[in-house]
Amino acid sequence: MYRYDEFDHTLVAERIATFRRQVQRRLSGDLTEDQFKPLRLMNGLYLQLHAYMLRVNIPYGCLSARQLRQLAYIARRYDRNFGHFTTRQNIQYNWIRLDETPDVLAALAEVEMNAMQSSGNCVRNITADQYAGRARDEVEDPRPWCELIRQWSILHPEFSYLPRKFKIAVSGAPVDRAAVKFHDVGLYLRRNADGVVGFEVIAGGGQGRLPYVGHTIRDWLPKEDLLSYLEAILRIYNLGGRRDNPQKARIKVQVNALGPDEFRRLVDEEWAQIRRSALLAVPRAEIERIAAYFADPAWEVLADDPVAVTRQRGVDPGFDDWYRANVVAHRTPGYAIVNLSLKAPGIAPGDLTADQMDKVADLADRFSIGELRVSHRQNLVFPDVRQGDLPALWQELRALSLATPNIGQLTDIIACPGLDFCSLANARAIPVAQDLSRHFGDAAVLQDVGELTINISGCMNACGHHHVGNIGILGVEKNGQEFYQLTLGGSSGEDASLGDRLGRSISAADVPPAIDAIVARYRALRLADERFLDTYRRVGIEPFKEAVYGARAREVA
């Protein structure tokens, strides 16, 4: 993992000192809430329905056991004993006091974490594949590049007052686990025809009220040109992004209004001017310095499929289910990547209590070389587990309710905080997720249904990624009542697509039966081991409309 040096530490400490002064000025009445708002937002502090919410960055999803213990301490000391992992590899605390916020930031700085730019119209936390550096299908580890981008983007003097927020995601693998095509800028590490690794650059993707799949604006970018090319994109956006309407201020609106070809032309023109600028040159020594932090840990020399696992798989169906759903192949023999599901039945997706955090940190030390990851699907990952330890780890995780065998399946639901916490929401999201996770509690059913994602948002801002769920659920408000609009066929993967609206919205109570009907229809229609998404793409929406709305489907849709 990356470690702060004296410069990183000083930068963060100075930022906290500044914010402490600003908070004092707010508390003394020297600053109005209106004047204070942009200052607190740049430090990750929102004012929500009931209290201040602090959003803390987990850069590209990497977290150490020591950091997680500190997050537990903060949850206990400054919040109500829990934290909420979001879809952007952040953790949110929902009950923070304004006067204590500088102390929370100082506690974070002790473990080399911060909340800078987790909000505001600036470059947000850089996100990445949660299996980075460990996945078998990876072309190259994206984490050093993420760290390089992180540093370039933090307190950027030119790009701290963009038209709107700006999200960047990076994947080192062809299978997209980071929703790259739904970011303002998405990067895939790719090999060109000569076998040289560079970046495919995607721009203008996003969700929210105006969802777009991003466009490839450069097939292959040399790695050494990464910062100059990003600077060119940001400059074109800073100058040309709309500032008259916040709903239309994201880069996706600019890219799609200009068309990807014209946007590309503008970026290339700017890039030609700055490409060779010494101001953006990164010496090889710095790349190497950063990359050294992500060197492989001292893995033991082991063989795949140890006896301990094969024996357990034969006798314990619970272990079998978990192994199939939550354990992923690691690129080193004898090791495995293990997902910790934060989606146990009845739990708010992404929530973890302080006690669970402490225990997970201990398990990470014991089973995963002290390191863990956070995924955009709001789960945790142990990246370096010896396969022989899997049965023991499973037992421990089960005791913590973190072994629900549902990764990538029907009850691995993404949900935003919704009307329970958020001042923007129109409807609750968490209770709908809780209902569904209880309703589909049977591991055998989940396993039979297989890969099927459900994403729930409490409003059009789409923080719960409903547009890209295989099944999307959007909370809407009609005459003071909450209803839910279903979409089908969304995907955040490399085969990205936006979901299609199924029909009229339904009540919360009707959501589980509607999902039942969709799942039943899929099971009836699928060919062999076809995924839900593939069946949907083959047969279209009509059979599912009929399944949910009955014979009158065409009339009500």
């Binding site: 930068l11 500044t18 200052l39 540093q151 370039w152 007052y161 963009l162 800073n238 100058l239 101001l279």
Partner: protein, 163 residues
């Protein structure tokens, strides 16, 4: 209110005539791009120093060939949230090679002074009861930064690898 330059309040020899129809005689003026385009010969004939005020939707590249006529280029922040002038200042200084006064005008708040300075602004029409105090308050906020700009100050990474 007041103009801060080099850390101190300084008198402003210029009169901002950019929104005036009648141009006051006998004083250095700051004028708009539109005034410059229409009254160029008249303005040059005055024999007084000139300044140009650009709105945030007016790129300095539009007057690249005329920059030698201006002692001041004032870049406007209609709202502090409108960050276009940061880019304009960098292009003015770093690309067009302008070495005169680059003045931040409009909604210029103390919290933005550091970023403005790093982008090439060297005078600031600060919105604060005591502009000099505002400057002093934030002057020591940052000693480390990750980006290089035309101000020549070394990045964290330059300092890392110098040793």
């Amino acid at each position: 209110m007041g103009l801060v330059r080099g850390g101190s309040l300084v008198p402003d020899p210029f009169t901002d005539a950019s929104s005036l129809g009648e141009l006051p005689a006998g004083v250095p003026l700051i004028i708009s791009l539109e005034q410059w385009q229409v009254r160029r010969d008249e303005l040059l004939a005055r024999g007084q120093p000139l300044g140009l005020r650009l709105r945030s939707d007016q790129s300095p590249t539009r007057i690249a060939d005329d920059l030698a006529h201006f002692a001041v280029v004032a870049l406007e922040f209609p709202k502090y949230r409108d960050g276009r002038a940061y880019t304009h200042a960098r292009i003015l200084k770093e690309r067009l090679g302008y070495t005169g006064e680059i003045r931040a005008v409009g909604d210029v708040l103390q919290e933005q002074l550091h970023f403005m300075q790093r982008c090439g602004f060297n005078s600031f029409d600060v919105v604060a009861p005591d502009a000099e105090q505002a400057w002093r308050t934030v002057a020591g906020d940052h000693t480390v930064w990750y980006q290089a700009t035309g101000d020549g100050r070394p990045r964290a990474l330059d300092r890392r690898h110098r040793r």
